[in-house]
């Protein structure tokens, strides 16, 4: 079974303990925190995980934290719990990508379902993340000349056009293309383009530098 982890942030010790125990009783590993700060200071493993977060935390509201988390690249699916049952707040939370918004007291079934949905989302995110890391690594292994060729290939230019644009011979372009295919470990031109599109997306987002 792949390792899974649920983070819990709630300033109420009893709620924290009870949740810990409930999840332990169905063999889900947990790590709980009494504040957002202590959660931030803790080490996080890149495994399947989700975060159960109380909406109202002293110092910082859970809602604000969720918002900031995404910006800071801490991409863990969030399940909100609240003692207030605030409906407008839950709408905002869901719109911002929270897995669920549960009012205290919540039903076991509801929280477990939310957690498993959270794991699914987490799995997707991890996969995406790995793919991107892979692309990034490969892209960075290309030299400047090869990178230039890739950028034209994505745009659908022919070897001849690329040679003219870069002011090199067509042979050089062909050699670079072969190198690129090899470094990128792709078999077909179609695969190369697919990866190229991902690269272009990351370049636009700024998560990759030329």
């Amino acid at each position: 079974m792949e390792p899974k982890l649920v983070y819990i942030i709630d300033d109420d010790m009893s709620v924290r303990d009870a949740l810990d125990d409930l999840l332990a009783s169905v063999d889900i590993e947990t790590r709980s925190f009494d504040s957002i700060e202590s959660f931030l200071q803790s080490e996080k493993n890149p495994i399947l995980s989700c975060l159960i977060l109380d909406v109202r935390m002293p110092g910082q509201s859970g809602m604000d934290f969720q918002h900031k988390m995404q910006k800071n690249g801490l991409d863990i699916p969030v399940i909100f719990i609240s003692g207030h049952g605030d409906i407008p707040m839950s709408v905002t939370a869901i719109k911002r990508g929270a897995i669920d918004f549960l009012s205290k007291p919540f039903r076991e079934q509801d929280i477990l379902e939310a957690i498993y949905r959270g794991f699914e989302v987490s799995r997707e995110k991890i996969k995406q993340h790995e793919e991107r890391n892979h692309v990034e690594k490969i892209y960075n292994s290309l030299n400047a000349g090869e990178k230039a060729v890739v950028s034209f290939l994505i745009k659908g230019h022919l070897n001849k056009q690329i040679a003219a644009e870069l002011n090199v011979s067509e042979i050089t372009v062909k050699v670079r293309r072969a190198n690129i295919m090899q470094k990128m470990q792709v078999k077909s031109f179609a695969d190369l383009i697919r990866m190229g599109i991902e690269i272009e997306k990351m370049l636009l987002e700024g998560s990759l530098q030329i």
């Binding site: 109420d12 009893s14 709620v15 303990d17 009870a18 949740l19 125990d21 409930l22 332990a24 009783s25 169905v26 109202r56 719990i81 003692g83 207030h84 049952g85 009012s103 205290k104 007291p105 919540f106 039903r107 076991e108 929280i111």
Partner: protein
């Protein structure tokens, strides 16, 4: 000439003041001023000086009237506001906030309790039941239920802090005093009030202020029930009488009335059909009446509208056993 016109303007303002707001009165006054000045310049006949003096006198009269009217309106508004405040029971501005924080205080231990109960069951239902952890969960449940009941106890203590001061008094006087306080409201809402006072004292042992709050609240509800535009007959009838040696109070209105469903829930806490209503008014009414060993009831009037009735134990007047219902 200007003086005659001014008298006419003053009449306009006096009549207008009955129907329009303070702002409207000021606008009206400005228009009248303009008209007076214009008419002064248009009137070429007669001496200029006499005309000027007349004009000044006319304007002074106009402003004086307007000023008095505005002052009266402010005073009336104050009276109406004071009545609202006096009769509205425990109307806490931030009641929403208060209930939210109470809900939170109770939901925390409830969440811990239900989660622990689920955990406890899970530990016991395992292939190899983990008795120790199940017991730990049970301990937590006990702790958390105690915590919840402490919250409830704290709230109860809070509400008990109000001291009741019971005294021997005449129910008729309590009703009269409350209605007198509400005079401004009745006029403001154009309601016809009939007060059928029982012709002998109805001696009860009650906290007078609390009873006034109860009756005042019933009265405010009746006024609110008469608000909708479709209600054309605006009558409230108040009556005191005795029945089985008990002091009785009955308020009948010709308002929107009560459905079967309304009657079932009307005394429930937080049950309201009114925007911005707390739904606590009648709940508190019943709490107060029952604390006085009385009974409060609501029913639909067969002619439309609602009937509210309060029955209180009579203190001494037991001999007057005639049914005046």
């Amino acid at each position: 000439m200007e003086i005659a016109a001014a008298v006419f303007y003053i009449a306009v303002i006096l009549v207008g003041a009955r129907f329009i707001s303070a702002k409207g009165v000021i606008v009206l006054c400005s228009i009248c001023t303009l008209l007076t000045v214009v008419s002064f310049f248009l009137t070429t006949k007669g001496l200029f000086e006499t005309g000027l003096i007349n004009c000044i006198i006319a304007l002074s009269a106009l402003y004086l009237t307007t000023y008095i009217i505005l002052r009266t309106q402010v005073a009336e508004n104050n009276a109406i506001n004071a009545t609202y405040q006096m009769t509205r029971i425990a109307r806490i501005q931030s009641l929403g906030e208060l209930t939210a924080s109470i809900a939170h205080e109770i939901n925390q231990p409830l969440a811990a309790t239900t989660a622990s109960a689920d955990a406890c069951r899970n530990w016991l239902m395992r292939d190899k039941p983990d008795i120790n952890r199940a017991i730990q969960a049970l301990e937590r449940i006990r702790r958390e239920t105690r915590r919840a009941s402490e919250v409830v106890e704290r709230i109860r203590r809070l509400s008990k802090n109000e001291i009741t001061q019971k005294e021997i008094c005449d129910l008729n006087d309590i009703v009269s005093d409350t209605l007198a306080l509400s005079n401004a409201l009745i006029e403001h809402h154009d309601i016809e009030l009939t007060w059928n006072r029982y012709d002998a004292p109805l001696i009860v042992h009650v906290d007078k202020v609390q009873m006034m709050q109860v009756i005042g609240n019933l009265f405010l509800n009746a006024i609110e029930a008469l608000q909708p535009r479709l209600v054309t007959e605006r009558f409230i009838t108040v009556k005191t009488f005795t029945m089985n040696a008990q002091a009785c109070f009955r308020m009948t209105d010709t308002g929107v009335g009560l459905s079967e469903e309304d009657i079932k829930h009307i005394f429930d806490a937080f049950w309201t059909k009114r925007d911005g209503g707390t739904g606590l008014g009648l709940t508190l009414c019943r709490a107060i009446v029952e604390a006085h060993k009385g009974i409060i009831s609501a029913r639909q009037n067969s002619h439309g509208g609602a009937i509210f009735e309060i029955i209180l134990p009579c203190k001494i007047n037991k001999e007057s056993n005639n049914s005046g219902a």
